[in-house]
């Protein structure tokens, strides 16, 4: 392994359990690069993950890490952040983890605008359980539970968290690997709920079932399905079906929950003091 990130990896846990060519490694490296560039203090940073291939990320990072239950990472993260607002809290999660079983926690964290950074490793399948359809599986895909072609429509997770109230929302892909650190860094530095959707390949299940026999084939499909945000604006809904729109969608300021709560605590303290002052009179 090259030594670029060896300080951030738990080297004794390597190699990862990930299959050859799995996109998870690309996203994880991108996260480390972003963290390095963010200037944040590792000591004050907690990595939270759920269950899934992607969620194993937490185990490889030399941070305070907590590998929680399937779908619930964001709720654990919420407890950490609201109880200790001085900590930077990052959630590394999969499309299944954060948008199937965990969809509700995702939208509520966005609504609350709690200062979490959520990175979704979006491979449009449940890799860990051998490749069933997920809420982000493109319509028509073959998976272990949609052998006749997936009949539902996928979520556009960026649109969803935007509608829910997130203050930073962006999407990139493992093909666009250089964009990952940039976006995650912005997300880390945003004081508010931020979400980065990283389209990634699961060559083992999604790829193979959908006639992409190598990891590179799947990355080519990702490349060919990607559309720049600017370009996308000129396209119709039907033209955009099955495409991944890449770019930053939201980057705005809004009062952040834990900071507002701290203000309340201060306010009540003050009141108490004033109360005490009155009492003395």
């Amino acid at each position: 392994m090259n030594r670029m990130y060896e300080d951030y990896y738990r080297m004794d846990r390597m190699p990862t359990i990930w299959c050859p060519g799995c996109g998870n490694g690309i996203v994880l490296n991108g996260f480390i690069e972003a963290f390095k560039n963010s200037g944040l203090d590792r000591k004050n940073t907690v990595i939270v993950s759920g269950i899934g291939c992607s969620s194993r990320s937490a185990l490889y990072l030399d941070f305070d890490t907590i590998h929680t239950t399937h779908g619930r990472a964001i709720s654990f993260a919420t407890g950490i952040k609201q109880s200790r607002p001085e900590l930077n809290v990052v959630v590394l999660t999969g499309d299944g983890d954060c948008s199937a079983i965990g969809g509700n926690h995702l939208i509520h964290a966005a609504r609350r605008n709690i200062d979490l950074t959520v990175v979704c490793y979006n491979n449009s399948t449940y890799g860990m359980t051998n490749g069933q359809y997920s809420p982000t599986t493109p319509t028509g895909s073959i998976t272990a539970t949609s052998m006749y072609g997936f009949m539902e429509s996928p979520f556009d997770l960026c649109k969803l968290v935007e509608a829910a109230g997130a203050t930073y929302v962006a999407r990139t892909t493992t093909f666009h690997a250089k964009m990952i650190p940039m976006m995650i860094k912005n997300a880390l530095l945003k004081k508010g709920f931020s979400f980065v959707d990283c389209i990634a390949q699961c060559p083992t299940y999604f790829g193979r079932k959908n006639k992409m026999s190598t990891p590179a084939d799947m990355m080519k499909w990702i490349r060919d399905s990607s559309v720049n945000k600017k370009t996308a604006e000129t396209m119709s809904e039907s033209e955009l079906a099955g495409k991944f729109v890449i770019g930053e969608f939201v980057n705005k300021e809004k009062p952040e929950l834990t900071a507002e709560y701290t203000k309340l605590v201060e306010r009540l303290k003050l009141k108490e003091k004033e109360g005490a002052a009155y009492a003395k009179v």
């Binding site: 359990i17 299959c19 050859p20 860990m128 083992t204």
Partner: protein
């Protein structure tokens, strides 16, 4: 036949799970014996060593896991290293000589065969190396009849590949018989 325990091991893509299933089918559906098959699961099953276990017996099988195997097939060095301790000292070992190069000396017989090469050269495709192995297993162990094994292989062969699979089975069977003869002869010496 008393309880006979087989372990087929190798790497993920070598079709050993399926081989185990076909072996179980040959025994239970066509030879009217009792058989159980099981395999390793889990993240560690991704890449790395994979194994398929078959128990064959005339009587109902109680404990369904292989404990001390009577027979082991190893199609990779890694799987050999990982599982060899589970083979009875007197048990039969079959390896793919191309992939398994380091075999420790042992009491029981060691059959080292060019299983993958036979598949590629005699049957036409590397991927039927698992069926070649099945042929060899029949020849070396007699746990199932060749007839039953053929039927089981035919049942599972995708249409159009029947002949190739039968060929693989026979080639494996013949090559193993030959080798067995040789080795027995040697042992007699």
């Amino acid at each position: 036949m008393p309880k006979y325990e087989l372990r087929l091991s190798g790497s993920g893509g070598q079709g050993l799970i399926l081989a185990g299933i076909m072996l179980g089918e040959a025994a239970s559906i066509y030879d009217n014996k009792e058989a159980t098959q099981s395999q390793s699961y889990g993240p560690e099953a991704r890449g790395g060593a994979s194994r398929s276990e078959v128990i064959i017996s005339d009587k109902p099988i109680d404990f369904p896991k292989v404990r001390q195997a009577d027979f082991m097939l190893s199609m990779t060095q890694e799987s050999y290293d990982k599982y060899i301790s589970g083979l009875r000292e007197e048990g039969v070992l079959l390896t793919d000589s191309f992939f398994v190069t380091k075999v420790k000396p042992r009491t029981g017989p060691v059959y080292s065969m060019d299983l993958t090469k036979i598949a590629a050269e005699k049957a036409g495709k590397k991927i039927v190396a698992n069926v070649v192995s099945l042929g060899a297993i029949v020849a070396l162990t007699n746990v199932v009849s060749l007839e039953a094994m053929k039927k089981a292989v035919l049942d599972r062969a995708p249409s159009g590949t029947e002949e190739m699979n039968l060929k693989a089975l026979e080639e494996g069977y013949n090559a193993a018989l030959e080798l067995k003869g040789k080795i027995l002869q040697e042992m007699k010496k």
